[in-house]
C-alpha cells in the first residue's frame, strides 16, 4: 500500500526523504565500488520485469480475488540489497510520477517502507540465514514466506506510523494498525509463496545466477541497518511531537503562562501571532491546547477550538469560490493565448 502526499505532514515527509535518500546514496556508492558494468542493464531490465510481472495475475485460492507479485524480496534475492534497493526506488519513482501512486513528497516514505525493509532487514536477517545455500526446497519456501510477511508487516507499520505522526488523518494508531496489519499479513503470505515458487524455478533452471550472491555480507550492510533504523526512530519520534501534537516546549509554555497576569497575555498573543506568520511548518494543534488549558479539561474545549483557527465564515466561502473561478479563468486565458499564438501545425 502506498503512502499518499495528502496524508503526510512536511516534517514526516522530509524525514523520510532524508532516510530514503541516505540509504540510496550509500547503496549507490556501494555499487559504484563494485564497478560491475553488467549490473547497469541487469538492474534496468529487472526493474522492468517487476512492472511486467504485475500483468500476470493469478487467482488466490478460497478468496475469489486475484493477486500479483510485488517483487521487493525477489529483487533482493536476485541482485543483493544495494542494487535491489535502487531498483525498487526507481520503480516507485516511476509509479509516483506516472501513475500518481503516492506522490512526490510521500516517495521517500514509500521507498523506505517498500524498499528498506525487504532489502536491508528481511533479506539479510531472515531470508539468507534461513534459506542457506538454496539446496533445500522446504527451507527456501519457509524463508521466503517468513521474510515476505515480516517485510510487509514492517512496511504497513511504517505507513501507519507516518500517517499518525503527520496528524492529517484522525485515525488512531490502534484502529489504523488493526486495519492495515491483517490485510498485509494476507498480502505477505501470497507474496512469500510467489517469491518461493519463482526462486525455486530459477534455481532449477539457472543455478549459476545465484552463485555470485552467496558471498558473505560486508560490514556496510550492518552499518546501513543501524544508521537507517536510528534515522527512522529519531524521525518518527521527533515528528510525532512536532506535528501530531504541539511541540512539548510550546505546550508547557502555554500551560505555564495562561495563569499569569493579563499584560503578559498581550505579549504572548502577539508572539503567537508572529510565530504563526513566520512559521514555515504549521503548528497544527496550536490553538487546541491553548483553549483546553484555558477552560478546565473536558468542558467546552472541543466545541470552541476549531472556530479559533478557521475563518470559515460567509466571506471565506465566497472568497474560496471566487479564487477557483479566477484560477480557471487564468488557465483558460493562458490556453487561448497559446492557441492563437502558436501556428496550427504546432
Amino acid at each position: 500500500m502506498h503512502m499518499a502526499d495528502a496524508l503526510l505532514s512536511p516534517a514526516v515527509g522530509a524525514t523520510m526523504w532524508v532516510a530514503a535518500g541516505s540509504v540510496l546514496a550509500l547503496s549507490a556508492r556501494r555499487l559504484d565500488r563494485q564497478s560491475d558494468d553488467r549490473m547497469v542493464p541487469l538492474m534496468g531490465v529487472l526493474g522492468a520485469f517487476i512492472f511486467a510481472a504485475q500483468m500476470i495475475n493469478f487467482a488466490i485460492p478460497a478468496t475469489g480475488s486475484s493477486g500479483h507479485l510485488g517483487g521487493g524480496l525477489l529483487l533482493a534475492i536476485l541482485l543483493g540489497p544495494p542494487a535491489a534497493f535502487i531498483v525498487i526506488a526507481s520503480v516507485l519513482t516511476v509509479q509516483a510520477l506516472f501513475f500518481a501512486d503516492g506522490g512526490l513528497l510521500a516517495l521517500g516514505a514509500n521507498i523506505f517502507n517498500l524498499g528498506f525493509f525487504p532489502c536491508f532487514l528481511a533479506y539479510p536477517l531472515i531470508y539468507r540465514p534461513l534459506a542457506g545455500d538454496g539446496t533445500s526446497r522446504a527451507r527456501v519456501v519457509a524463508a521466503s514466506l517468513l521474510a515476505a510477511i515480516i517485510a510487509l508487516q514492517l512496511g504497513a507499520l511504517g505507513v501507519v506510523l507516518q500517517t499518525i505522526a503527520s496528524g492529517i488523518s484522525n485515525l488512531s494508531f490502534g484502529t489504523f494498525a488493526a486495519l492495515m496489519l491483517p490485510i498485509h499479513l494476507a498480502i505477505g503470505i501470497v507474496e512469500g509463496i510467489v517469491t518461493a515458487v519463482v526462486v525455486l524455478f530459477v534455481l532449477r533452471a539457472r543455478p549459476d545466477l545465484f552463485a555470485a550472491r552467496t558471498a558473505p555480507t560486508a560490514p556496510l550492510g550492518r552499518l546501513l541497518i543501524t544508521f537507517a533504523a536510528a534515522a527512522a526512530l529519531i524521525g518518527g519520534v521527533l515528528s510525532w511531537f512536532a506535528s501530531g501534537h504541539p511541540d512539548g516546549l510550546e505546550w508547557s509554555l502555554e500551560r505555564a503562562t495562561t495563569g499569569e497576569a493579563a499584560e503578559e497575555q498581550g505579549v504572548k498573543a502577539w508572539l503567537a501571532q508572529a510565530q504563526q506568520r513566520v512559521a514555515i511548518l504549521p503548528d497544527y494543534d496550536f490553538a487546541a491546547p491553548a483553549a483546553a488549558a484555558d477552560s478546565e479539561p473536558g468542558t467546552e474545549a472541543a466545541a470552541s477550538w476549531p472556530d479559533v483557527k478557521l475563518g470559515t465564515s460567509a466571506s471565506g466561502i465566497v472568497g474560496g469560490v471566487l479564487t477557483l473561478v479566477l484560477v480557471f479563468v487564468a488557465g483558460t486565458l493562458l490556453r487561448r493565448t497559446r492557441r492563437s499564438a502558436s501556428p496550427p501545425a504546432g
Binding site: D32, F201, L310, G319, G331, G346
Partner: protein
C-alpha cells in the same frame, strides 16, 4: 491485466507530451523539478483544516497544464484512478472528528472539513507530479535529477527501467494472452503463474545479457551519459522565483478570505 496494459499506454502518452515544443517543455527541467517540489511542500504545510486557503495554489497545476497543452480530461482520469487510498483513509475523519464547526451559519462535523482538505491536497500534489513529467519527459527528468546531484546509478536506472518496461510489459501481456486463449476461461492458478513468472524472469536475464553485449560493442565503459545538457537561462530563474513568491504569498496571506472580504465587506 488490462489495467497494467492501460497504465503502460498512459506511461507512454504522458512521456510523449513532453516531446512537443510547448512553453512548458522549454522551461529547464531542473527549474520545473525544483518548483514542483516547492509547490508540494507548500501544499502539505497548510493547517489540516485548510480548504479555501489552499485553492489559490491550484493556479500552479492549471497554469502548467495550459502552458504544456496537457488535456485536462487525461489528468482528471489519472487523479480518479489514484484516489482510493487517500479517500479511504480520509473518510475516517468525518467519523472520528465530530467537533462541530461553523461554516457560515451551518454547523458540520470538523472531520468533513479536514476530509475535504485531504482531497484538495491530493488533487494538487498528484496533478503537479503528473504535470512535471508531462513537461520534462522521463529522460529529461532523469538528466535534471543527475544535474541536481542524484547518484548516477539511480538516474541511469530510471532511464533503463523506463525503456524496458514497455518491452517486458509487451512480453508479459503476450504470455498472459496466450494462456488465456488456451485456458478456456479458467482463472490462472498459482501453479501456472509461478513458472510463467520464472520464464519471464529468465527471458529478462537473457535480454540483460544481450543488452550488455550490445552496449559493450558500442563502447560502453560503465558510465551512462544522459543527454539534455541545456544551459540555465534567466527565464528559468524567473520561473522558479516567480512561483516561489506566489507560494509564499498564498502561504502567508489567506487570499480567498481577503477576496471574500473585498466582495462582501464581512469577515
Amino acid at each position: 491485466m488490462s489495467r497494467v496494459d492501460a497504465a503502460l499506454r498512459d506511461l507512454r502518452s504522458l512521456d510523449a507530451l513532453a516531446a512537443r515544443d510547448t512553453p512548458l517543455a522549454r522551461v529547464d527541467a531542473r527549474a520545473l523539478t525544483v518548483t514542483t517540489l516547492a509547490f508540494i511542500v507548500t501544499v502539505v504545510s497548510f493547517d489540516r483544516y485548510a480548504v479555501a486557503a489552499l485553492l489559490p495554489l491550484a493556479l500552479y497545476p492549471v497554469a502548467l497544464a495550459a502552458l504544456g497543452d496537457v488535456p485536462a480530461a487525461a489528468l482528471l482520469r489519472k487523479l480518479a484512478v489514484a484516489a482510493p487510498f487517500a479517500v479511504m483513509v480520509g473518510l475516517f475523519n468525518p467519523l472520528l472528528d465530530r467537533a462541530p464547526m461553523a461554516i457560515g451559519s451551518v454547523d458540520i462535523a470538523a472531520g468533513w472539513v479536514s476530509f475535504t482538505s485531504i482531497l484538495v491536497r491530493f488533487a494538487l500534489t498528484v496533478s503537479a507530479a503528473l504535470l512535471l513529467v508531462a513537461g520534462t519527459g522521463m529522460n529529461g527528468l532523469a538528466a535534471a535529477l543527475r544535474r541536481l546531484g542524484m547518484p548516477r546509478v539511480f538516474t541511469a536506472q530510471l532511464t533503463f527501467l523506463f525503456r524496458y518496461a514497455f518491452v517486458l510489459g509487451g512480453e508479459a501481456t503476450r504470455m498472459a494472452t496466450a494462456r488465456q486463449l488456451r485456458g478456456n476461461g479458467r482463472p490462472m492458478r498459482l501453479a501456472e503463474a509461478g513458472p510463467m513468472l520464472g520464464h519471464l524472469l529468465l527471458r529478462a536475464f537473457a535480454r540483460a545479457e544481450r543488452i550488455h553485449q550490445a552496449m559493450r560493442a558500442r563502447g560502453f565503459d560503465g558510465e551512462v551519459r544522459l543527454l539534455g545538457g541545456r544551459r540555465w537561462q534567466a527565464r528559468d530563474t524567473l520561473f522558479v522565483a516567480g512561483w516561489c513568491v506566489w507560494f509564499a504569498l498564498v502561504r502567508t496571506v489567506d487570499v480567498p478570505q481577503w477576496l471574500g472580504w473585498l466582495m462582501t465587506g464581512a469577515t
